[in-house]
């Protein structure tokens, strides 16, 4: 687990982030297995394989195109690729032991726990043995009965994917997989499996509860109960019409003008602008309120009126506090998320805003009144962690963190939202540059995206990983092209603040599109595999703003549109005013909106033409632009100085592109 990971053949490339890789010995053994298998030298091949199995590996091993795969997946892949004589040889070596283990596991009177342990051993160590598929199938059923749908799905999918020789009923495996997918709410995957079953196994039957049932009919019933397909496509968001006048519905200014100026010019007395001068507080909305994390001061405003409903602390003296220690404020590390009446904040305490080395805590607040429900300081398992990036909330809270004494090691955690108790913790990898010593350069804050049963984490520092949302198991990692930040030659006054932008990966069906903060590449990964779909050079300062069926939209100091068809052509580009990297552009049905220091730009998605620039009520306050939120009845701008709400005149008529 300690050897530095290297992508493909590019072992000489200096990587800003290393993924947890196998020890050199295990990796070598795996390579030997692949090499001897090619030569049909089965004796040596399986000796090497035994070394791998004995190591009980949990890390990643190098695949191709910059991917690192979980050892288990890689092993299954290699075994599935064995030729017929290799499979035969494998079974000569392992069948006896596997059969013995299988009989022990399935013997009458064996306690369920023992059965599960033995089957798990079989499925991981002897998967290619004659009984390997049956063991995985039975193990899947045990998990299903325990309600561990993710694990059950993995077992059945492993047989479907890596045991093409299996005599097990494929229709039955597909049906069980589909039912488990439906039970875990993974409807997109469910639809895919249901379609395969309908097209290739029409009329298949399945024994459920002792009765034979029509598999197709069972799945059709489940499909009828499924929610409509998720509208992840931003084209589904209606366009808005700006009001004729700049008069806002309401405006909430955080600071006095003097305070705002002190922050905006922090560091410019001598030297370059500091990162804190680019601060735009993270904010989220729900139906009733706007929640803001202003450098650790949490507050809520009423959506309709802008009235301050609650706040965790007064923020009149932020300007003074940050002046002295501006290098260590890290405004980009503050995060906020909300779900089901709770607000989750990644923050330092207000009085510790610029204190070097002070951890960022995770707080859960009651959305109604702002009262703290729990904080990571008071949860024993979270006390030692410093959190980073914006949390992602579904039935669990997913967030990244590190331990201050080992700040370069990045972990992902799944936490129970109501108690703060972690469900799992997994190490993602290691930053090569200490993120707490960036001297005004934007630190890499991981961005999370939730797929069906999977979490995707872009470290924004040269690596992206997929985790099993149920277990935290690292499925695979991808090392991408990213600039290595220098920490040498740091000048008095700090490095000049860099206006890098960072967006979250976007899932589009079975594809994942992403762009790292310091990367000059836009990537699409085909998740069935996984494999690299394509990569394309783009400007480093751009972030992924959105995509639809035809185009990908990037935003930063210019907004660009790239076609998604074969040649991935730059369809159009438009330079826009740009004063902070903490922006939140919005793409809608036919428009791209970006809140800039010169107003909110409304661009035509098909041509990039500027349709309108809405110059709102915060331009005269020294707004640097920032985040834009579009709701049904209003739109909000969140800048370095104020949150302002404006009425939406009426949604534009949905025009076809």
């Amino acid at each position: 687990m300690d050897a530095p990971a290297r992508a493909g053949s590019g072992s000489e490339v200096q990587r800003p982030f290393l993924l947890p890789a196998q020890t050199g010995e295990v990796s070598e053994a795996l390579e030997d297995f692949a090499r001897y298998s090619k030569r049909a030298d089965w004796n040596r091949a399986f000796k090497s394989l035994q070394k791998v199995l004995d190591a009980n590996p949990a890390g990643l091993v190098a695949g191709s195109d910059g991917f690192l795969l979980s050892m288990r997946a890689r092993l299954m892949q290699l075994l599935a690729e064995l030729p017929a004589d290799g499979r035969e040889a494998y079974r000569l070596f392992y069948d006896a032991e596997a059969k013995k283990l299988f009989e022990e596991a399935t013997a009458a009177g064996v306690p369920p726990k023992t059965e599960e342990e033995k089957l798990a051993k079989l499925a991981s160590s002897y998967f290619a043995a004659t009984v390997g598929d049956a063991a995985a199938d039975r193990l899947g059923e045990l998990y299903f009965e325990k309600g561990e749908m993710g694990q059950a799905i993995d077992c059945w999918q492993a047989v479907l994917r890596y045991r093409p020789d299996s005599a097990l009923d494929r229709a039955g495996l597909l049906t069980k997989t589909a039912i488990a997918l439906a039970r875990s709410g993974r409807w997109s995957e469910f639809r895919g499996v249901e379609r395969v079953l309908r097209e290739r196994h029409a009329g298949a039957t399945l024994t459920l509860g002792g009765a034979e049932t029509d598999a197709g009919a069972t799945l059709a019933e489940l499909a009828a109960a499924a929610p409509p397909a998720a509208q992840a496509d931003p084209a589904a968001t209606p366009d808005i019409e700006f009001p004729a006048a700049a008069a806002p519905l309401w405006q909430f200014r955080y600071f006095s003008e003097a305070n705002a100026k002190a922050i905006a010019t922090a560091g410019t007395d001598w030297g370059a602008r500091s990162s804190v001068s680019l601060m735009v507080p993270p904010a989220v909305l729900d139906e009733k309120r706007v929640y803001v994390n202003l450098l650790g001061h949490h507050f809520a405003l009423e959506r309709a009126s802008g009235k301050l409903l609650w706040r965790s602390a007064k923020f009149h003296d932020i300007g003074t506090r940050i002046q002295q220690q501006r290098y260590y404020v890290f405004p980009e590390q503050y995060g906020i998320a909300t779900a089901e009446g709770r607000v989750f904040c990644v923050s330092r305490k207000p009085q510790e805003v610029g204190q070097h080395g002070t951890p960022f805590r995770l707080y859960c607040l009651n959305a109604e009144d702002g009262k703290q429900l729990w904080g990571s300081e008071s949860v024993a398992e979270l006390r030692d962690w410093s959190f980073c990036g914006t949390p992602l909330v579904s039935d669990r809270l997913y967030v990244c963190a590190y331990k201050p004494q080992k700040a370069s090691e990045l972990y992902a955690l799944a936490i129970q939202p109501d108690t703060g108790k972690p469900t799992w913790t997994v190490m993602i990898g290691t930053h090569q540059a200490d993120q707490s010593q960036m001297y005004n350069q934007r630190t890499a804050q991981p961005a999370l995206a939730l797929g069906e049963g999977r979490i995707y984490i872009d470290t924004h520092n040269g690596a992206l990983v997929e985790l099993n949302a149920d277990t935290g198991n690292l499925d695979w990692g991808f090392l991408y092209d990213s600039e290595m930040v220098t920490q040498q030659n740091v000048w008095y006054g700090g490095q000049p603040a860099t206006m890098d932008t960072a967006g979250a990966p976007i899932l589009a069906g079975s594809r994942l599109v992403f762009k790292g903060m310091r990367s000059t590449r836009l990537y699409q990964i085909e998740l069935d595999g996984p494999k690299l779909g394509w990569e394309r050079p783009v400007s480093k300062r751009e972030m992924l703003a959105g995509l639809d069926g035809e185009r990908i939209y990037l935003s930063g100091d210019e907004v660009t549109s790239i076609t998604r068809d074969g040649d991935r052509r730059l369809a159009w580009s438009l330079p826009v005013p740009f004063a902070t990297g903490l922006i939140r552009p919005v793409t809608t049905h036919t428009r791209v909106y970006q809140f800039t220091p010169r107003g909110v730009y409304e661009l035509d998605k098909s041509t990039g033409d500027v349709l309108q620039i809405f110059r709102g009520a915060d331009l005269d306050l020294g707004s640097q632009g920032g985040a834009l939120f579009i709701a049904a009845d209003s739109f909000l701008t969140v800048s370095n100085v104020a949150i302002t709400a404006y009425p939406v005149q009426r949604p534009r008529a949905a025009a076809s592109r």
Binding site: T268, G271, A272, R273, E483, M484, V485, T486, Q488, N489, W491, Q495, P496, T498, T520, P537, S539, K540, E558, T560, R569, L570, W572, S573, L574, P575, V576, P577, R598, G608, D609, V610, I613
Partner: protein, 280 residues
């Protein structure tokens, strides 16, 4: 006799030099004269740049083409009378891909970055016939021009090597004039300034001749020492240019009379005229 004559000329030279910077020699009196005529600028000009940069040349071209089209379209939509757009130089450069701060602060040790192709076009936006425009209207019109350029994504101001270097050194933009006020047809004014300069020179020479008790003769030679408009350059830029031996790529060497401020622009002529001394 010869020594007495030389002493007399020398005495005359010493007497008049402080007042009128006159140089007498053995066969004449040299004086300088200056003429100045002022007039309101007739047009205001803005240097703007559009373009794009990208790792792929095809992208850089697409960005450049888009940026130029949007800028020109934006001005066309304004339908401003007396507005003239002059497309000027196009520049293609291959840059390091590092931001200016990285390039400056980590010279030689910055991490490798992918080089990018920059394509940029200078465009001069000229607002003509402003001399009779009320100041309020002129300011509003200038505001429209600047906003149009900025909103279209164009960069305002000349691509000065010196200001770019300053920006790199300090990580921020240095102040620089963005509008140039121009006296477009200064020929007549310059003629008048010449006449005034010559008249002043003659007056001075006559005064000196009278003081020296000699009779002023014909003009023997005329030399123009300088012709200055109101062109300004940022002092910081001048300093940097001097220190680093940079020549400003946008040096105003077109001999037009220009100023960075909106005020009457002086047309100055300095002449050095040598008159003969006629023997009594």
């Amino acid at each position: 006799m010869r020594r007495r004559w030389l002493a007399a000329v020398a005495a005359a030279f010493v007497a008049v030099l402080p007042a009128a910077r006159v140089r007498g020699d053995d066969n004449g009196i040299t004086v300088s004269g200056s003429g100045e005529v002022s007039a309101k600028p007739t047009q205001v000009e803005f240097e703007i740049r559009t373009g794009g940069s990208a790792e792929l040349t095809g992208d850089a071209i697409a960005k450049y083409r888009d940026a130029k089209r949007r800028t020109l379209d934006a001005f066309a939509k304004q339908q401003m009378k007396n507005l003239v757009i002059e497309e000027r130089a196009i520049a293609l450069t291959n840059s390091s891909g590092l931001n200016p701060q990285q390039a400056m602060f980590n010279a030689g040790q910055a991490p490798a970055a992918k080089p990018v192709i920059d394509i940029s076009r200078s465009i001069r936006v000229v607002l003509k016939d402003i001399q009779d425009m009320p100041e309020e209207e002129l300011m509003a019109t200038i505001g429209r021009v600047l906003d149009t350029a900025k909103d279209a994504g164009a960069t305002i101001g000349p691509a000065s090597d010196a200001s770019a270097l300053l920006a790199r050194m300090y990580g921020q933009q240095m102040s620089a004039a963005i509008a140039t006020f121009v006296l477009d047809d200064a020929g007549e004014l310059r003629e008048k300034a010449y006449r005034n300069a010559m008249e002043q020179a003659r007056t001075r020479a006559e005064r000196l001749a009278a003081l020296a008790h000699v009779k002023l003769g014909p003009v023997l030679s005329v030399q123009e020492t300088a012709v200055a408009g109101g062109a300004d350059t940022n002092p910081q830029q001048q300093m940097i240019m001097a220190m680093y031996g940079i020549r400003d790529a946008n040096h105003k060497d077109d001999l037009r009379v220009t100023s960075d401020t909106f005020s009457e622009i002086p047309v100055r002529v300095n002449l050095q005229v040598r008159f003969g001394i006629e023997s009594e």
